[in-house]
């Protein structure tokens, strides 16, 4: 289950949904997909742990779902368009999920968006090699 390093792994705070993650998170995403049906939403809400047994999930994936740890779900192979269905089942707006994933309150997150969103400056790469200053330096060399 070790992940081979990808160029895009250098983008901070991001889990790119590639085939490696998709394969690993198949159970998470198929579970979320099942929530598109009202009868399934009701069955899940009635007994979450029991309902989850129907899907091929690892114990850590099950825990992430039960705890609504959205970042962990992404890390373990969930995709946001799928996990958003879980948020909707809980009756949450998307901004609620965004706030959870960014460790913010919904109010602060909404304020940040109204003020123009999160700046790309300082958020391009973990290594720092993609911020404009270091690019300029590299060109000079």
């Amino acid at each position: 289950m070790t992940r081979t390093e990808k160029e895009y792994d250098d983008i901070p705070g991001s889990f790119v949904f590639d085939q490696e993650r998709s394969r690993r998170g198949y159970g998470i995403n198929m579970f979320c997909m099942s929530l598109m049906k009202d009868e399934n939403r009701k069955a899940f809400k009635a007994n979450e742990a029991e309902y989850l047994k129907k899907f091929p999930l690892t114990p850590e994936q099950t825990q992430a779902i039960l705890k609504r740890d959205y970042n962990r779900m992404l890390e373990l192979g969930g995709n946001i368009y799928f996990t958003a269905k879980l948020g909707a089942t809980d009756g949450h707006s998307f901004q609620h999920l965004a706030a959870v994933m960014t460790g913010s309150t919904q109010e602060d997150y909404a304020k940040m968006m109204l003020a123009g969103g999160r700046s790309v400056e300082g958020n391009r790469s973990k290594s720092g090699k993609h911020d404009p200053k270091s690019k300029a330096k590299a060109r000079k060399r």
């Binding site: 160029e7 895009y8 983008i11 901070p12 705070g13 991001s14 889990f15 790119v16 949904f17 590639d18 085939q19 998709s22 998170g25 198949y26 995403n29 198929m30 979320c32 997909m33 929530l35 598109m36 049906k37 970042n71 992404l74 995709n79 946001i80 368009y81 799928f82 958003a84 269905k85 909707a88 089942t89 998307f94 901004q95 965004a98 994933m101 960014t102 460790g103 997150y109 940040m112 968006m113 109204l114 123009g116 969103g117 999160r118 700046s119 790309v120 958020n123 391009r124 790469s125 993609h130």
Partner: protein
């Protein structure tokens, strides 16, 4: 002969659909977004295309993780709105155009674009929100048939920007060879910059978006060189949807008239971008939708 007369691109934020469905469009927050599309609706009503090709992406509605087609063409007679987790949007069923869709499929596949054919498909907000923005709320039915073309941008990697552009070229060729007189408009949807997943969610890059709009109008070939990793870094992971705009652009002439542009931040978590581009009317006779206003605008721009 059929021909593509214009293209338009627009974001397809689900919250825009929710604002329409819950009658919240008059609220100041939403007015800022919707007022930007008043002119677009006028333009669409005046242009009256016979058919629209809608390039969009499915968001885990028609396609889950079981089957992920890179390009899927809707060849059915109709496409019902999908239940995206809170009941299907109360918008009319999207009517397709099976004959033209079949012609496009055949032409494009023989042109080496290996499309997936969908004879049954539900469509989600990715398609219906831009339709609302361009065509209105359309309670009595949409004004024209729409051929949906779903592009995978959910599972990495989506088709490259260049591949999308070249598919647009192939679609253009297909439409040009369709014997019936049809005026076709193509929509590219999604974007602009946004990231809705992970700790970096909320990312917006207006500088990138504006330059993307400029290049889309005047120098689209430049955009075909963008690498996915750069698109994700600059425009957010989900901003990679912008590759779909290049299918639209590839289907138009190299030189186009920019009729209208609109940009605002935010709608929910997303930068909303929108542009309408018209092919220049053919000089040798034929029906054309030339608009004096757009001609003037293009002239002014050339001088810069």
């Amino acid at each position: 002969m059929a021909r593509i007369i214009a293209g338009a691109t627009s974001s397809h934020v689900p919250a825009i659909g929710a604002a329409i469905d819950n009658n919240r469009t008059h609220e100041p927050y939403w007015q800022r977004v919707f007022s930007g599309f008043d002119k677009s609706k006028e333009w669409f009503a005046k242009t009256k295309p016979d058919v629209v090709i809608g390039v969009y992406n499915d968001h885990a509605s028609a396609f889950s993780v079981e089957i992920v087609p890179t390009f899927a063409l809707g060849c059915a007679a109709e496409f019902p709105p999908a239940d995206e987790g809170w009941g299907p949007r109360k918008v009319p069923v999207v009517k397709g155009y099976p004959d033209l869709a079949a012609h496009i499929a055949q032409s494009v596949i023989l042109d080496e674009f290996d499309l997936t054919i969908c004879n049954k498909m539900e469509v989600d907000h990715g398609l219906t929100v831009p339709m609302n923005l361009m065509m209105g709320t359309s309670n009595g039915g949409w004004p024209c048939p729409v051929i949906p073309l779903a592009v995978n941008v959910v599972l990495y990697p989506p088709p490259t920007a260049h591949r999308c552009f070249m598919l647009g070229r192939a679609i253009r060729k297909a439409v040009d060879s369709y014997p019936q007189d049809l005026r076709v408009v193509i929509f590219g949807t999604g974007g602009m910059s946004h990231q809705i997943s992970g700790p970096r969610a909320g990312l917006i890059n207006s500088k990138f978006d504006k330059s993307f709009l400029d290049n889309l109008a005047r120098d689209p070939k430049k955009l075909t060189k963008i690498k996915h990793v750069d698109l994700m870094r600059e425009a957010g992971l989900e901003g990679i949807e912008l590759v779909m705009w290049l299918v639209m652009r590839g289907a138009l002439d190299d030189k186009v008239n920019e009729v209208y542009r609109f940009y605002t931040v935010p709608a929910s978590n997303t930068a909303v971008g929108h542009i309408i581009l018209e092919n220049k009317p053919k000089s040798a006779g034929g029906k054309s939708s030339k608009s004096k206003a757009s001609k003037k605008k293009a002239k002014g721009k050339k001088k810069k």
